[in-house]
Amino acid sequence: MTNSLRQGIPVEIESVAKQFRVRGQELPALIDVSMSIRPGQFVSLVGPSGCGKSTLLRLVAGLDSPSSGQIRVNDIPVVGPSQTCGVVFQRPALFPWFDVTGNVTFGPRMQRRDRRETQRLAKAYLEAVGLQGFEHHKVYELSGGMQHRVALARVLINRPTLLLMDEPFGALDAQTRLIMQELLLHIWEADRSTVLFITHDVDEALLLSDRVVLMTARPGRIKADYQVNLPRPRSLSLITSAEFVTSKAEILHSIREEILKTSDIEQRFLLGAPPRPNETLELP
Protein backbone atom coordinates (compact mmCIF):
# COMPACT_ATOMS: atom_id res chain seq x y z
CA MET A 1 0.00 0.00 0.00
CA THR A 2 2.71 2.46 0.92
CA ASN A 3 5.45 3.45 -1.40
CA SER A 4 8.73 2.50 0.23
CA LEU A 5 10.74 4.74 -2.11
CA ARG A 6 8.87 7.79 -0.95
CA GLN A 7 10.79 9.98 1.48
CA GLY A 8 9.85 12.83 3.72
CA ILE A 9 10.91 16.32 2.75
CA PRO A 10 12.94 18.85 4.76
CA VAL A 11 11.36 21.89 6.41
CA GLU A 12 13.32 25.07 7.15
CA ILE A 13 11.83 27.71 9.41
CA GLU A 14 14.04 30.81 9.31
CA SER A 15 13.56 33.56 11.91
CA VAL A 16 9.82 33.59 11.49
CA ALA A 17 7.70 36.12 13.34
CA LYS A 18 3.96 36.61 13.24
CA GLN A 19 1.85 39.43 14.60
CA PHE A 20 -1.92 39.62 14.70
CA ARG A 21 -3.92 42.81 14.82
CA VAL A 22 -6.45 42.48 17.59
CA ARG A 23 -8.67 45.49 18.30
CA GLY A 24 -6.15 47.90 16.86
CA GLN A 25 -3.23 46.46 18.77
CA GLU A 26 -0.36 44.47 17.35
CA LEU A 27 -0.23 41.19 19.21
CA PRO A 28 2.94 39.20 18.63
CA ALA A 29 2.18 35.48 18.41
CA LEU A 30 5.62 34.28 17.35
CA ILE A 31 9.01 35.91 17.76
CA ASP A 32 12.09 34.78 15.87
CA VAL A 33 11.34 31.08 15.49
CA SER A 34 14.01 29.12 13.67
CA MET A 35 14.03 25.39 13.28
CA SER A 36 15.08 22.91 10.70
CA ILE A 37 13.44 19.53 10.32
CA ARG A 38 15.26 16.69 8.58
CA PRO A 39 13.44 14.64 5.93
CA GLY A 40 11.39 11.89 7.55
CA GLN A 41 11.73 13.28 11.06
CA PHE A 42 8.80 13.16 13.47
CA VAL A 43 8.82 16.42 15.44
CA SER A 44 6.41 17.29 18.22
CA LEU A 45 5.77 20.86 19.19
CA VAL A 46 4.89 21.20 22.86
CA GLY A 47 4.08 24.28 24.86
CA PRO A 48 1.49 26.05 27.02
CA SER A 49 -1.83 26.82 25.37
CA GLY A 50 -1.88 30.02 23.38
CA CYS A 51 1.85 29.95 22.76
CA GLY A 52 1.58 30.03 18.98
CA LYS A 53 2.00 26.33 18.15
CA SER A 54 -1.02 26.32 15.88
CA THR A 55 0.04 29.62 14.32
CA LEU A 56 3.40 28.12 13.40
CA LEU A 57 1.72 25.06 11.91
CA ARG A 58 -0.63 27.21 9.84
CA LEU A 59 2.36 29.14 8.53
CA VAL A 60 4.08 25.92 7.47
CA ALA A 61 0.83 24.75 5.83
CA GLY A 62 0.56 28.00 3.88
CA LEU A 63 -2.81 28.89 5.42
CA ASP A 64 -1.28 32.09 6.82
CA SER A 65 1.84 34.01 5.89
CA PRO A 66 4.53 35.10 8.33
CA SER A 67 4.97 38.78 9.21
CA SER A 68 8.69 38.33 8.70
CA GLY A 69 11.09 35.49 8.03
CA GLN A 70 10.66 32.61 5.65
CA ILE A 71 9.54 29.00 5.65
CA ARG A 72 10.85 26.58 3.06
CA VAL A 73 9.36 23.17 2.50
CA ASN A 74 11.52 20.93 0.31
CA ASP A 75 13.66 24.03 -0.41
CA ILE A 76 10.69 25.88 -1.91
CA PRO A 77 9.35 28.95 -0.06
CA VAL A 78 5.77 28.41 1.17
CA VAL A 79 3.32 30.80 -0.45
CA GLY A 80 0.04 28.90 -0.11
CA PRO A 81 -1.56 25.50 0.49
CA SER A 82 0.16 22.70 -1.37
CA GLN A 83 -0.71 19.06 -1.86
CA THR A 84 2.70 17.82 -0.75
CA CYS A 85 1.57 18.85 2.68
CA GLY A 86 -1.32 17.21 4.52
CA VAL A 87 -3.01 18.77 7.54
CA VAL A 88 -4.99 16.95 10.21
CA PHE A 89 -6.86 19.47 12.32
CA GLN A 90 -8.04 19.18 15.90
CA ARG A 91 -11.58 18.56 14.69
CA PRO A 92 -12.14 16.03 11.92
CA ALA A 93 -13.73 18.70 9.64
CA LEU A 94 -15.32 16.07 7.38
CA PHE A 95 -17.78 16.99 4.64
CA PRO A 96 -21.17 15.80 5.94
CA TRP A 97 -22.68 15.70 2.42
CA PHE A 98 -20.27 12.94 1.36
CA ASP A 99 -20.19 9.44 2.81
CA VAL A 100 -17.01 7.94 4.29
CA THR A 101 -15.58 6.96 0.89
CA GLY A 102 -16.59 10.32 -0.60
CA ASN A 103 -14.58 12.06 2.12
CA VAL A 104 -11.53 9.83 1.75
CA THR A 105 -11.47 10.17 -2.05
CA PHE A 106 -11.97 13.95 -1.91
CA GLY A 107 -8.33 14.86 -2.54
CA PRO A 108 -7.77 12.51 -5.52
CA ARG A 109 -11.12 13.53 -7.00
CA MET A 110 -10.20 17.21 -6.78
CA GLN A 111 -6.92 16.44 -8.51
CA ARG A 112 -8.75 14.34 -11.14
CA ARG A 113 -6.83 11.17 -10.46
CA ASP A 114 -7.81 7.87 -12.04
CA ARG A 115 -11.15 6.82 -10.60
CA ARG A 116 -10.54 3.10 -10.25
CA GLU A 117 -7.16 3.59 -8.66
CA THR A 118 -8.71 6.11 -6.26
CA GLN A 119 -11.40 3.63 -5.20
CA ARG A 120 -8.75 0.99 -4.64
CA LEU A 121 -6.60 3.37 -2.57
CA ALA A 122 -9.62 4.51 -0.54
CA LYS A 123 -10.38 0.91 0.36
CA ALA A 124 -6.75 0.29 1.30
CA TYR A 125 -6.46 3.41 3.48
CA LEU A 126 -9.80 2.80 5.17
CA GLU A 127 -8.55 -0.67 5.99
CA ALA A 128 -5.29 0.79 7.32
CA VAL A 129 -7.20 2.99 9.77
CA GLY A 130 -9.46 0.07 10.71
CA LEU A 131 -12.65 1.23 9.03
CA GLN A 132 -13.31 -1.62 6.62
CA GLY A 133 -17.05 -2.17 6.35
CA PHE A 134 -17.81 1.51 6.92
CA GLU A 135 -17.14 2.64 3.34
CA HIS A 136 -20.66 3.84 2.72
CA HIS A 137 -21.63 5.06 6.15
CA LYS A 138 -22.60 8.66 6.63
CA VAL A 139 -19.78 10.44 8.44
CA TYR A 140 -22.06 11.92 11.08
CA GLU A 141 -23.18 8.44 12.06
CA LEU A 142 -19.65 7.58 13.19
CA SER A 143 -18.18 8.05 16.65
CA GLY A 144 -15.61 10.79 17.30
CA GLY A 145 -12.70 8.36 17.08
CA MET A 146 -13.94 6.92 13.80
CA GLN A 147 -14.38 10.41 12.35
CA HIS A 148 -10.75 11.14 13.18
CA ARG A 149 -9.74 7.94 11.41
CA VAL A 150 -11.63 9.09 8.32
CA ALA A 151 -9.89 12.48 8.54
CA LEU A 152 -6.52 10.72 8.77
CA ALA A 153 -7.26 8.43 5.80
CA ARG A 154 -8.50 11.43 3.80
CA VAL A 155 -5.14 13.14 4.30
CA LEU A 156 -2.96 10.03 3.88
CA ILE A 157 -4.53 9.06 0.53
CA ASN A 158 -2.95 12.22 -0.95
CA ARG A 159 0.46 10.73 -0.02
CA PRO A 160 1.70 13.88 1.70
CA THR A 161 5.46 13.98 2.17
CA LEU A 162 4.92 16.45 4.99
CA LEU A 163 2.22 15.74 7.53
CA LEU A 164 1.08 18.55 9.83
CA MET A 165 -1.07 17.55 12.76
CA ASP A 166 -2.66 20.13 15.06
CA GLU A 167 -3.59 18.30 18.26
CA PRO A 168 -5.36 15.70 16.15
CA PHE A 169 -6.37 13.54 19.10
CA GLY A 170 -6.94 16.35 21.59
CA ALA A 171 -10.72 16.07 21.50
CA LEU A 172 -10.78 12.29 21.99
CA ASP A 173 -11.27 10.33 25.18
CA ALA A 174 -8.19 8.71 26.77
CA GLN A 175 -8.75 5.17 25.43
CA THR A 176 -9.52 6.25 21.87
CA ARG A 177 -6.49 8.52 21.96
CA LEU A 178 -4.22 5.60 22.88
CA ILE A 179 -5.61 3.57 19.98
CA MET A 180 -5.14 6.45 17.57
CA GLN A 181 -1.56 7.02 18.77
CA GLU A 182 -0.70 3.40 18.17
CA LEU A 183 -2.38 3.54 14.76
CA LEU A 184 -0.39 6.63 13.80
CA LEU A 185 2.87 5.02 14.98
CA HIS A 186 2.11 1.96 12.93
CA ILE A 187 1.27 3.88 9.76
CA TRP A 188 4.10 6.37 10.09
CA GLU A 189 6.80 3.79 10.84
CA ALA A 190 5.90 2.10 7.57
CA ASP A 191 5.98 5.29 5.51
CA ARG A 192 8.24 7.88 7.20
CA SER A 193 6.97 11.17 5.94
CA THR A 194 8.15 14.29 7.73
CA VAL A 195 5.73 15.08 10.56
CA LEU A 196 5.15 18.22 12.57
CA PHE A 197 2.85 17.24 15.40
CA ILE A 198 1.32 19.66 17.86
CA THR A 199 0.22 18.46 21.23
CA HIS A 200 0.15 19.53 24.84
CA ASP A 201 0.36 15.92 25.98
CA VAL A 202 3.99 15.15 26.85
CA ASP A 203 3.38 11.39 26.85
CA GLU A 204 2.02 11.61 23.34
CA ALA A 205 4.95 13.73 22.17
CA LEU A 206 7.56 11.37 23.61
CA LEU A 207 5.83 8.23 22.41
CA LEU A 208 5.57 9.37 18.80
CA SER A 209 8.51 11.67 18.10
CA ASP A 210 12.17 11.68 17.21
CA ARG A 211 12.38 15.17 18.59
CA VAL A 212 10.35 17.29 20.96
CA VAL A 213 10.48 21.07 20.59
CA LEU A 214 9.32 23.10 23.54
CA MET A 215 7.89 26.56 22.96
CA THR A 216 7.68 29.42 25.44
CA ALA A 217 4.51 31.13 26.57
CA ARG A 218 3.24 33.85 24.27
CA PRO A 219 4.87 35.39 22.35
CA GLY A 220 6.07 32.01 21.18
CA ARG A 221 9.76 31.24 20.92
CA ILE A 222 11.62 27.98 20.91
CA LYS A 223 12.80 27.26 24.40
CA ALA A 224 14.29 23.81 24.18
CA ASP A 225 14.85 21.06 21.67
CA TYR A 226 15.05 17.45 22.90
CA GLN A 227 16.22 14.47 20.90
CA VAL A 228 14.18 11.41 21.77
CA ASN A 229 16.44 8.42 21.50
CA LEU A 230 13.92 5.73 22.29
CA PRO A 231 14.14 2.70 20.01
CA ARG A 232 11.72 2.07 17.16
CA PRO A 233 9.40 0.43 16.33
CA ARG A 234 7.61 1.68 19.39
CA SER A 235 4.41 0.63 21.08
CA LEU A 236 2.33 1.86 23.97
CA SER A 237 4.26 -0.29 26.46
CA LEU A 238 7.14 2.19 26.08
CA ILE A 239 5.27 4.68 28.25
CA THR A 240 6.13 2.78 31.43
CA SER A 241 9.85 2.29 30.68
CA ALA A 242 12.50 4.02 32.82
CA GLU A 243 14.04 6.07 29.96
CA PHE A 244 10.64 7.34 29.01
CA VAL A 245 9.88 8.46 32.53
CA THR A 246 13.22 10.27 32.88
CA SER A 247 12.72 12.23 29.64
CA LYS A 248 9.19 13.04 30.64
CA ALA A 249 10.26 14.44 34.01
CA GLU A 250 12.78 16.72 32.33
CA ILE A 251 10.29 18.11 29.84
CA LEU A 252 7.56 18.56 32.40
CA HIS A 253 9.95 20.55 34.57
CA SER A 254 10.65 22.98 31.72
CA ILE A 255 6.96 23.36 30.93
CA ARG A 256 6.21 24.10 34.57
CA GLU A 257 8.77 26.88 34.54
CA GLU A 258 7.12 28.35 31.47
CA ILE A 259 3.66 28.24 33.00
CA LEU A 260 4.89 29.93 36.17
CA LYS A 261 6.47 32.67 34.08
CA THR A 262 3.18 33.43 32.35
CA SER A 263 1.20 33.65 35.53
CA ASP A 264 3.94 35.78 37.09
CA ILE A 265 3.59 38.32 34.29
CA GLU A 266 -0.17 38.26 34.56
CA GLN A 267 -0.05 38.82 38.31
CA ARG A 268 2.28 41.78 38.03
CA PHE A 269 0.09 43.29 35.35
CA LEU A 270 -3.03 42.92 37.46
CA LEU A 271 -1.33 44.42 40.52
CA GLY A 272 -0.12 47.36 38.45
CA ALA A 273 3.56 46.67 38.99
CA PRO A 274 5.81 47.92 36.20
CA PRO A 275 7.15 45.33 33.79
CA ARG A 276 10.78 44.37 34.05
CA PRO A 277 13.07 45.98 31.49
CA ASN A 278 13.24 44.26 28.08
CA GLU A 279 10.05 42.41 28.65
CA THR A 280 6.88 42.74 26.61
CA LEU A 281 3.60 42.39 28.36
CA GLU A 282 1.01 40.46 26.45
CA LEU A 283 -2.21 39.37 27.98
CA PRO A 284 -4.88 37.13 26.60
Binding site: V87, F89, A93, F95, W97, F106, R154
Partner: protein
Protein backbone atom coordinates in the same frame (compact mmCIF):
# COMPACT_ATOMS: atom_id res chain seq x y z
CA UNK B 1 -49.19 -2.61 37.56
CA UNK B 2 -45.58 -1.57 37.01
CA UNK B 3 -44.63 -5.04 35.76
CA UNK B 4 -47.56 -5.17 33.42
CA UNK B 5 -46.54 -1.86 32.01
CA UNK B 6 -42.97 -2.87 31.36
CA UNK B 7 -44.20 -6.17 29.87
CA UNK B 8 -46.30 -4.43 27.30
CA UNK B 9 -43.38 -2.10 26.66
CA UNK B 10 -41.11 -5.05 25.91
CA UNK B 11 -43.71 -6.55 23.65
CA UNK B 12 -43.99 -3.31 21.76
CA UNK B 13 -40.25 -3.17 21.30
CA UNK B 14 -40.28 -6.73 20.06
CA UNK B 15 -43.02 -6.17 17.51
CA UNK B 16 -41.23 -3.06 16.31
CA UNK B 17 -38.22 -5.19 15.49
CA UNK B 18 -40.34 -7.37 13.22
CA UNK B 19 -41.90 -4.52 11.30
CA UNK B 20 -41.27 -4.50 7.59
CA UNK B 21 -40.32 -1.38 5.70
CA UNK B 22 -43.82 -1.14 4.23
CA UNK B 23 -45.37 -1.27 7.66
CA UNK B 24 -42.95 1.35 8.90
CA UNK B 25 -43.85 3.63 6.01
CA UNK B 26 -47.57 3.18 6.67
CA UNK B 27 -47.05 3.86 10.35
CA UNK B 28 -45.10 7.02 9.62
CA UNK B 29 -47.85 8.13 7.25
CA UNK B 30 -50.48 7.63 9.92
CA UNK B 31 -48.47 9.46 12.59
CA UNK B 32 -47.80 12.43 10.31
CA UNK B 33 -51.15 12.56 8.52
CA UNK B 34 -53.23 11.76 11.60
CA UNK B 35 -52.85 15.13 13.37
CA UNK B 36 -53.22 17.05 10.10
CA UNK B 37 -56.41 15.26 9.17
CA UNK B 38 -57.96 15.58 12.60
CA UNK B 39 -57.31 19.33 12.82
CA UNK B 40 -58.77 19.81 9.32
CA UNK B 41 -61.82 17.76 10.27
CA UNK B 42 -62.25 19.85 13.43
CA UNK B 43 -62.16 23.05 11.36
CA UNK B 44 -64.71 21.58 8.97
CA UNK B 45 -66.88 20.62 11.95
CA UNK B 46 -66.88 24.17 13.35
CA UNK B 47 -67.65 25.55 9.90
CA UNK B 48 -70.52 23.14 9.42
CA UNK B 49 -71.86 23.88 12.92
CA UNK B 50 -71.81 27.65 12.39
CA UNK B 51 -73.60 27.51 9.03
CA UNK B 52 -76.11 24.73 9.67
CA UNK B 53 -77.45 26.44 12.82
CA UNK B 54 -77.79 29.73 10.96
CA UNK B 55 -75.39 31.41 13.41
CA UNK B 56 -73.72 33.19 10.48
CA UNK B 57 -75.71 34.39 7.45
CA UNK B 58 -74.96 32.39 4.25
CA UNK B 59 -73.93 35.59 2.37
CA UNK B 60 -71.01 35.92 4.80
CA UNK B 61 -70.16 32.26 5.29
CA UNK B 62 -71.54 29.70 2.84
CA UNK B 63 -72.03 26.15 4.12
CA UNK B 64 -69.39 23.48 3.43
CA UNK B 65 -71.94 21.63 1.31
CA UNK B 66 -72.59 24.66 -0.92
CA UNK B 67 -68.85 25.30 -1.36
CA UNK B 68 -68.32 21.66 -2.29
CA UNK B 69 -71.21 21.80 -4.77
CA UNK B 70 -69.93 25.05 -6.32
CA UNK B 71 -66.41 23.65 -6.66
CA UNK B 72 -67.81 20.57 -8.37
CA UNK B 73 -69.93 22.68 -10.74
CA UNK B 74 -67.02 24.97 -11.62
CA UNK B 75 -65.00 21.98 -12.79
CA UNK B 76 -67.29 21.69 -15.82
CA UNK B 77 -68.94 25.06 -16.09
CA UNK B 78 -66.79 28.17 -16.65
CA UNK B 79 -66.75 31.09 -14.23
CA UNK B 80 -65.99 34.10 -16.40
CA UNK B 81 -63.56 33.06 -19.12
CA UNK B 82 -62.50 29.72 -17.68
CA UNK B 83 -63.31 26.74 -15.47
CA UNK B 84 -61.86 26.32 -11.96
CA UNK B 85 -58.96 24.21 -13.17
CA UNK B 86 -58.29 26.69 -15.99
CA UNK B 87 -58.02 29.57 -13.51
CA UNK B 88 -55.87 27.44 -11.22
CA UNK B 89 -53.47 26.42 -13.97
CA UNK B 90 -52.97 29.96 -15.31
CA UNK B 91 -52.23 31.19 -11.76
CA UNK B 92 -49.85 28.27 -11.21
CA UNK B 93 -48.08 29.08 -14.45
CA UNK B 94 -47.65 32.74 -13.46
CA UNK B 95 -46.43 31.89 -9.97
CA UNK B 96 -44.00 29.22 -11.13
CA UNK B 97 -42.68 31.38 -13.98
CA UNK B 98 -42.13 34.47 -11.82
CA UNK B 99 -40.83 32.56 -8.82
CA UNK B 100 -38.63 30.28 -10.92
CA UNK B 101 -37.13 33.13 -12.89
CA UNK B 102 -36.54 35.19 -9.76
CA UNK B 103 -34.94 32.31 -7.85
CA UNK B 104 -32.75 31.24 -10.78
CA UNK B 105 -31.51 34.77 -11.52
CA UNK B 106 -31.09 35.60 -7.81
CA UNK B 107 -29.08 32.43 -7.35
CA UNK B 108 -26.79 33.11 -10.30
CA UNK B 109 -26.36 36.77 -9.41
CA UNK B 110 -25.72 35.98 -5.75
CA UNK B 111 -23.04 33.46 -6.73
CA UNK B 112 -21.53 35.93 -9.17
CA UNK B 113 -21.31 38.55 -6.41
CA UNK B 114 -19.20 36.15 -4.37
CA UNK B 115 -16.60 36.19 -7.14
CA UNK B 116 -16.87 39.89 -7.98
CA UNK B 117 -16.30 41.78 -4.73
CA UNK B 118 -16.22 45.14 -6.55
CA UNK B 119 -19.67 44.64 -8.02
CA UNK B 120 -20.77 43.42 -4.61
CA UNK B 121 -19.83 46.75 -3.04
CA UNK B 122 -21.89 48.60 -5.66
CA UNK B 123 -24.92 46.33 -5.61
CA UNK B 124 -25.25 45.68 -1.90
CA UNK B 125 -26.60 49.09 -0.80
CA UNK B 126 -28.91 49.24 -3.82
CA UNK B 127 -30.49 45.88 -3.04
CA UNK B 128 -30.75 46.63 0.64
CA UNK B 129 -32.66 49.77 -0.35
CA UNK B 130 -34.91 48.04 -2.90
CA UNK B 131 -35.76 44.91 -0.99
CA UNK B 132 -38.05 46.37 1.73
CA UNK B 133 -40.27 48.02 -0.92
CA UNK B 134 -43.33 45.81 -1.35
CA UNK B 135 -43.23 44.45 -4.90
CA UNK B 136 -46.87 45.40 -5.24
CA UNK B 137 -45.86 49.06 -5.18
CA UNK B 138 -44.44 48.55 -8.67
CA UNK B 139 -47.67 47.21 -10.19
CA UNK B 140 -48.88 50.47 -11.78
CA UNK B 141 -45.45 51.09 -13.26
CA UNK B 142 -45.39 47.58 -14.68
CA UNK B 143 -48.87 47.92 -16.11
CA UNK B 144 -47.81 51.13 -17.87
CA UNK B 145 -44.70 49.59 -19.38
CA UNK B 146 -45.70 45.96 -19.94
CA UNK B 147 -49.48 46.20 -20.28
CA UNK B 148 -52.03 43.84 -18.74
CA UNK B 149 -50.60 40.67 -20.31
CA UNK B 150 -48.70 37.87 -18.56
CA UNK B 151 -45.45 39.86 -18.71
CA UNK B 152 -46.40 42.44 -16.08
CA UNK B 153 -47.49 39.77 -13.58
CA UNK B 154 -44.40 37.62 -14.05
CA UNK B 155 -42.25 40.75 -13.84
CA UNK B 156 -43.94 41.69 -10.58
CA UNK B 157 -43.03 38.33 -9.04
CA UNK B 158 -39.53 38.69 -10.38
CA UNK B 159 -39.20 42.03 -8.58
CA UNK B 160 -40.50 40.42 -5.41
CA UNK B 161 -38.20 37.39 -5.57
CA UNK B 162 -34.97 38.36 -7.35
CA UNK B 163 -33.40 40.88 -4.89
CA UNK B 164 -34.33 38.76 -1.89
CA UNK B 165 -32.93 35.58 -3.47
CA UNK B 166 -29.73 37.45 -4.34
CA UNK B 167 -29.35 38.52 -0.72
CA UNK B 168 -30.12 34.99 0.55
CA UNK B 169 -27.58 33.50 -1.84
CA UNK B 170 -24.96 36.06 -0.92
CA UNK B 171 -25.42 35.17 2.75
CA UNK B 172 -25.53 31.42 2.07
CA UNK B 173 -22.20 31.62 0.25
CA UNK B 174 -20.63 32.38 3.62
CA UNK B 175 -22.27 29.43 5.38
CA UNK B 176 -19.19 27.26 4.87
CA UNK B 177 -17.34 26.80 8.20
CA UNK B 178 -13.72 27.97 7.95
CA UNK B 179 -12.42 24.55 9.06
CA UNK B 180 -14.13 22.83 6.14
CA UNK B 181 -12.84 25.42 3.69
CA UNK B 182 -9.29 25.06 4.98
CA UNK B 183 -9.34 21.26 4.90
CA UNK B 184 -10.70 21.38 1.36
CA UNK B 185 -7.90 23.74 0.32
CA UNK B 186 -5.24 21.60 1.95
CA UNK B 187 -6.59 18.56 0.09
CA UNK B 188 -5.97 20.32 -3.20
CA UNK B 189 -9.40 21.80 -3.88
CA UNK B 190 -9.55 25.18 -5.58
CA UNK B 191 -11.76 27.31 -7.81
CA UNK B 192 -14.67 25.53 -9.46
CA UNK B 193 -14.06 22.23 -7.64
CA UNK B 194 -14.11 23.97 -4.27
CA UNK B 195 -17.33 25.73 -5.23
CA UNK B 196 -19.19 22.73 -6.64
CA UNK B 197 -18.16 20.15 -4.06
CA UNK B 198 -17.81 22.22 -0.91
CA UNK B 199 -19.17 25.77 -0.90
CA UNK B 200 -22.39 25.09 -2.79
CA UNK B 201 -23.44 21.99 -0.81
CA UNK B 202 -22.80 23.90 2.42
CA UNK B 203 -25.03 26.73 1.14
CA UNK B 204 -27.84 24.43 -0.02
CA UNK B 205 -29.83 24.26 3.24
CA UNK B 206 -30.01 28.07 3.46
CA UNK B 207 -30.85 28.39 -0.23
CA UNK B 208 -33.73 25.93 0.05
CA UNK B 209 -35.06 27.59 3.20
CA UNK B 210 -34.88 30.98 1.47
CA UNK B 211 -36.69 29.81 -1.65
CA UNK B 212 -39.41 28.34 0.52
CA UNK B 213 -40.05 31.74 2.06
CA UNK B 214 -40.01 33.35 -1.38
CA UNK B 215 -42.58 30.90 -2.72
CA UNK B 216 -45.01 32.17 -0.09
CA UNK B 217 -44.07 35.75 -1.03
CA UNK B 218 -44.77 34.88 -4.68
CA UNK B 219 -48.28 33.69 -3.92
CA UNK B 220 -49.04 36.86 -1.96
CA UNK B 221 -47.73 39.09 -4.76
CA UNK B 222 -49.62 37.11 -7.39
CA UNK B 223 -52.92 37.51 -5.57
CA UNK B 224 -52.32 41.25 -5.50
CA UNK B 225 -51.50 41.35 -9.20
CA UNK B 226 -54.52 39.27 -10.19
CA UNK B 227 -56.90 41.36 -8.10
CA UNK B 228 -55.81 44.52 -9.89
CA UNK B 229 -54.68 43.55 -13.35
CA UNK B 230 -56.03 40.29 -14.71
CA UNK B 231 -58.99 38.79 -16.52
CA UNK B 232 -58.29 35.25 -15.39
CA UNK B 233 -56.68 33.30 -12.56
CA UNK B 234 -57.72 32.44 -9.04
CA UNK B 235 -57.07 35.96 -7.75
CA UNK B 236 -59.31 37.44 -10.43
CA UNK B 237 -61.95 34.80 -9.74
CA UNK B 238 -62.05 35.65 -6.02
CA UNK B 239 -62.21 39.39 -6.67
CA UNK B 240 -64.92 39.09 -9.29
CA UNK B 241 -67.00 36.71 -7.16
CA UNK B 242 -66.78 39.13 -4.25
CA UNK B 243 -68.18 41.92 -6.44
CA UNK B 244 -71.09 39.66 -7.44
CA UNK B 245 -71.68 38.48 -3.86
CA UNK B 246 -70.79 34.87 -4.73
CA UNK B 247 -69.10 34.05 -1.42
CA UNK B 248 -69.28 30.35 -2.29
CA UNK B 249 -66.99 30.99 -5.28
CA UNK B 250 -64.70 33.12 -3.07
CA UNK B 251 -64.33 30.17 -0.72
CA UNK B 252 -63.66 27.76 -3.57
CA UNK B 253 -60.88 30.08 -4.79
CA UNK B 254 -59.33 30.54 -1.36
CA UNK B 255 -59.33 26.81 -0.63
CA UNK B 256 -57.88 26.07 -4.08
CA UNK B 257 -55.02 28.52 -3.43
CA UNK B 258 -54.38 27.03 -0.01
CA UNK B 259 -54.20 23.51 -1.43
CA UNK B 260 -51.94 24.39 -4.38
CA UNK B 261 -49.62 26.61 -2.31
CA UNK B 262 -49.32 23.90 0.34
CA UNK B 263 -48.52 21.28 -2.31
CA UNK B 264 -45.80 23.47 -3.87
CA UNK B 265 -44.34 24.16 -0.44
CA UNK B 266 -44.39 20.44 0.30
CA UNK B 267 -42.44 19.81 -2.91
CA UNK B 268 -39.65 22.11 -1.69
CA UNK B 269 -39.73 20.41 1.71
CA UNK B 270 -39.44 16.98 0.08
CA UNK B 271 -36.62 18.28 -2.11
CA UNK B 272 -34.71 19.67 0.90
CA UNK B 273 -35.16 16.41 2.78
CA UNK B 274 -33.84 14.43 -0.17
CA UNK B 275 -30.87 16.75 -0.77
CA UNK B 276 -29.85 17.87 2.70
CA UNK B 277 -32.12 16.03 5.18
CA UNK B 278 -29.49 13.81 6.76
CA UNK B 279 -26.54 16.11 7.14
CA UNK B 280 -28.11 19.56 7.38
CA UNK B 281 -27.80 19.70 11.16
CA UNK B 282 -24.15 18.64 10.99
CA UNK B 283 -22.64 21.47 8.96
CA UNK B 284 -22.20 23.81 11.90
CA UNK B 285 -21.44 22.97 15.48
CA UNK B 286 -19.24 19.94 15.80
CA UNK B 287 -17.78 20.24 12.31
Amino acid sequence: MGDQFSDSFDQKAQTRRHLTTLEQTLRRLVTTLGPTLSSLLALLGVWWFLTSRGLVPPETLPSPGLVYYTAFTLLGQPYGPDTLLGHASITCFRVLAGFGLGVACGLLFGILLKFLPRVHVLVDPLFSFLRPIPAFAFITLLLLTLGVGEGSKIALLFIAVFPAMTIYTDAAMNALPIELEESARMLGSRGAGLFVHVRFPAALPDLLAGSRVLLAVSWTAMMGAELVAAESGLGWMIWSALKHSRTDVVFVGVIMIAVIAALMDYCIVLGSEALTGGWRAHVRGQW
